[in-house]
Subunit: 153 residues, 2 copies
Amino acid sequence: MTSVLGKDPRCSIARSLEVLGEKWTLLVVREAFRGRTRFSEFADALGIARDVLSSRLATLVEFGVLERRAYRAEGSRERAEYVLTASGRELVPVLAALNAWGDAYRATEWGPATVYADAQTGEPVSLRFVTESGRILDLDEVTAHPGPAFRNT
Amino acid sequence: MTSVLGKDPRCSIARSLEVLGEKWTLLVVREAFRGRTRFSEFADALGIARDVLSSRLATLVEFGVLERRAYRAEGSRERAEYVLTASGRELVPVLAALNAWGDAYRATEWGPATVYADAQTGEPVSLRFVTESGRILDLDEVTAHPGPAFRNT
DNA sequence: CATCCTGAGTCGCCTTTTCGAACTCAGGAG
DNA sequence: CTCCTGAGTTCGAAAAGGCGACTCAGGATG
């Protein structure tokens, strides 16, 4: 991506996209959530060119979304695997938000592809805005306004 | 982007990214949320090449995220403006999720760039997973599993 | 009327990314 | 010693992005 931010390094969205915004990157992360860990698993699942995959894995590792580890299947030599780090696992909301929007506005005959649920009860869950006191708001009750980064200095 | 989905048209994330995943697109949407409507406003705010902006606006209009309208400032000729549609406004969670992740994992000295709040009370809000019955869950209490699209057929 | 100015693009040329297939490399298996 | 596999790297061609110049429509100016 080579710094999309150029214009505003203060915007957190721009900084996130610097890591996640290149073609294929979020799909690689999606596959990581689906449990893929190996180079060929990602390549086969996505149909991505291998050199591009190589480059995407490298930046995801560089920015701490994935961790590259050596592992050894029995009777086989050492190989690399890529697993989500804590920061990678915190990308669920990003994927869930994209998933929900796609379900709502680009629906297909097949229905929803991924459903998020309470791990305990299996009850379906959705992403909502919640106040600190636990009140759940609708989208139109929420406003975005400039934070510290656009007030100080 | 020319169909990243190739491999899986059933995945809602892939379909969302088909519209939103090209370079600059989400930043254009962010600017739309900040109230920009005119071609030059987007261009100036982002520092994006004008031909690329032209193309991004076209696909956002094509997929119903923005609406292109004619407007006329007094004593000036008719010009175009781009405003968020209902489906565009529902991208808040996507931007909020990216914003939160950037704040958490790519923080800067300046602090958060954008803060989401209850429009009424000003109380800060965050994106959370909520069950249908209104229980708020932590990320690690949520699982993603294949929906209808990966079960039927 | 002729000229200037502005917003909203388009055009052409060059650089950067992506694509796809082929090639390499390291070790275990036969 | 050769074959096989997973994990990449390399290379040429195609697509996308960046940048400055150019166009186009109409209102304002003289």
